[in-house]
Amino acid sequence: MKTLASPGLITRIGAPISVLAAAALALIIVACALLASWIAPYDPTNLASFDLMNAELPPAFTADGDAHFLLGTDNQGRDLLSTMLYGARVSIMIGGGAVLVAATLGVMLGLLAGYFGGKVDALIMRIGDVILSFPTILLALLVSGVARAVFPGAATAEWAPIILICAIATNEWVQYARTVRAATMVETAKDYVRAAKVIGLPSRRIMLRHILPNVMSPVLVISTINLAAAVLTEATLSFLGVGMPPTYPSLGTLIRIGNEFVFSGIWWIALFPALALVILVLAVNIVGDWLRDRFNPKLRVKR
């Protein structure tokens, strides 16, 4: 262990076996979530499949539990396990979407800033500085608040995911832009780019075909950790009531619903989705932390 120059949190805790376990766990959760419509015992999106008579049943393993509902039911009588699987799917799709949008936007702006420098660079990076100086959650709330004011339909199941993705991506692109900008500046000074410029290739082609492939590896590493962060931000927004509506819940929405029942001793509605969320994020974080240490020790300083 001592041979590693500066072991990160993960390498310090254990051998990569823990990382492998975390990766496997993350993959299993993601797979279960994506296959929710096949493996979930009930379909929580189908109104006919649940009955208000079954509302707030405790988990099957407790004294008054019902064997039909392994983790109990929520306030509308939906099977909690099925609702959680569908909820995790919503969370992961929004998180993944946000990372995709943020990475695309950040990489493009980073390429532009690093390649052209000067005023373009200054403008993009100053905007990034301002964004980073405000806390993520505040900006995300502002974006979703403004979106709600502008489109009346913003709180509906169709629009909410798009607005959440925009709200999260607004924060996350900066990190990509900074990393890609730095890498692009290094590449731009190299001979192959100078040669490409000399033979008169258009800037667009040089940036996308020549520089981009060489600056992509840190982007993939950042994306893992950002996925965990995006899932957390989505959960937080939904918990605060400005995310997914209860009819089409994400894990955060489920925790919000459950929170109203905690005082009456109905703990499972909030606790099981919370547990699923923490395990998912923890597993992704462990993998991400390890990747970061493994492939790019320089990135670690940023957090």
Binding site: S133, F134, I137, G145, F239, I255, F263, A274
Partner: protein, 323 residues
């Protein structure tokens, strides 16, 4: 020195101008103030009259100027939802949030510094590894989950502590404090811990990194070679120097904590500014949102500017670089 001071203040004013412009744009263009203020079935003439009284028939620059003038005189408009002046609403809620932030800062410092030192002094010890593993779990657990678990354990199951509100408060002029009553202090505990945990990991990691850095420096090695007692080296020589950046970061974090308190306040129904803001977002109460943005922006700018200026006073090298 004067030049540095002026340039810092100039930058601060510029950022505030941008924040106020964003706030103005929200205030003016997001949603239609006439639609939300005029009574139903208002005629075209009535709406035009309302437009004139609100001043929104004027050119944008004039409107922005008026907005700035009103803001500077402390008039931030009237909440759509409560029909009360926004300034008054924020002033009422400010003490609750600040007391929460103060408690959270005290808690996170008093736990984070010793734990960070422990991890730095015995990096391979059992305790240090445990703390590190827990801190990874801490990063992956959202604040609201921590809050809910605390409520479940201490309020619902054990019934020791209240789970919502501020308890009894005492009015000291316009400031209402929960520090002076037993129920107020008890109510502060759970939300305070929840908010502190968010910052604890950060402080712990920072103390650990700084401490490891300082411990490997020359003067500590000389102190060891001289045979000074270990306790003296660790706590008088090393810790003091490691704490400098910690103090700065804690100061800078106060702004983030106030913004982050939004989540804690929602979980515990804590009647602070964060709860006011989140209600404003869900009811699209634009004046309150705009005012909160201005207020938090101002806070961030003040904190950053003060820290920058203090740095310039303390460290002459920075003065030369920035001038």
């Amino acid at each position: 020195m004067l030049k540095v001071l002026l340039s810092r203040l100039g930058q601060a004013a510029l950022v505030m101008l941008v924040v106020s412009a964003v706030s103005f744009v929200m205030f003016r263009y997001v949603g239609d103030p006439v639609a939300s203020m005029a009574r139903e079935n208002a005629s075209v003439e009535e709406k035009a009259e309302l437009r004139r009284t609100l001043g929104i028939d004027q050119p944008v620059v004039v409107q922005y100027g008026r907005f700035l003038a009103r803001t500077l005189s402390g008039d931030l408009g009237i909440s759509f939802r409560n029909q009360r002046p926004v300034t008054q609403l924020i002033a009422e809620r400010l003490p609750a949030t600040l007391e929460l932030v103060i408690i959270a800062t005290i808690l996170s410092l008093s736990l984070g510094i010793p734990l960070g030192v422990l991890c730095a002094l015995k990096p391979n010890g059992v305790a240090a590894r445990l703390v590190q593993a827990l801190s990874l779990i801490g990063i992956s657990t959202p604040t609201f989950v921590t809050g809910i678990v605390l409520i479940l354990v201490f309020a619902v199951t054990l019934g020791w502590l209240p789970s919502f509100g501020r308890g009894q408060v005492v009015e000291l002029g316009w400031w209402s404090t929960g520090f002076l009553t037993w129920s107020g202090l008890k109510s502060l505990l759970l939300p305070g811990i929840t908010l502190a945990l968010y910052q604890l990991t950060l402080i712990m990691r920072l103390v650990r990194a700084e401490m490891i850095d300082v411990l490997s420096s020359d003067y500590i090695r000389f102190a060891k070679a001289r045979g000074l007692p270990t306790r003296y080296i660790h706590f008088r020589l090393a810790l003091r120097n490691a704490l400098m950046p910690v103090i700065t970061v804690t100061g800078l974090q106060i702004g983030s904590l106030i913004a982050f308190a939004i989540i804690t306040e929602t979980v515990f129904q804590w009647p602070g500014m964060g709860l006011l803001f989140i209600q404003a977002v869900s009811f699209v109460d634009i004046p309150v949102m705009a005012a909160y943005l201005l207020f938090v922006g101002l806070l961030f700018v003040i904190i950053n500017t003060v820290v920058d200026i203090l740095y310039a006073v303390v460290d002459p090298r920075l003065r030369a670089r920035s001038a």
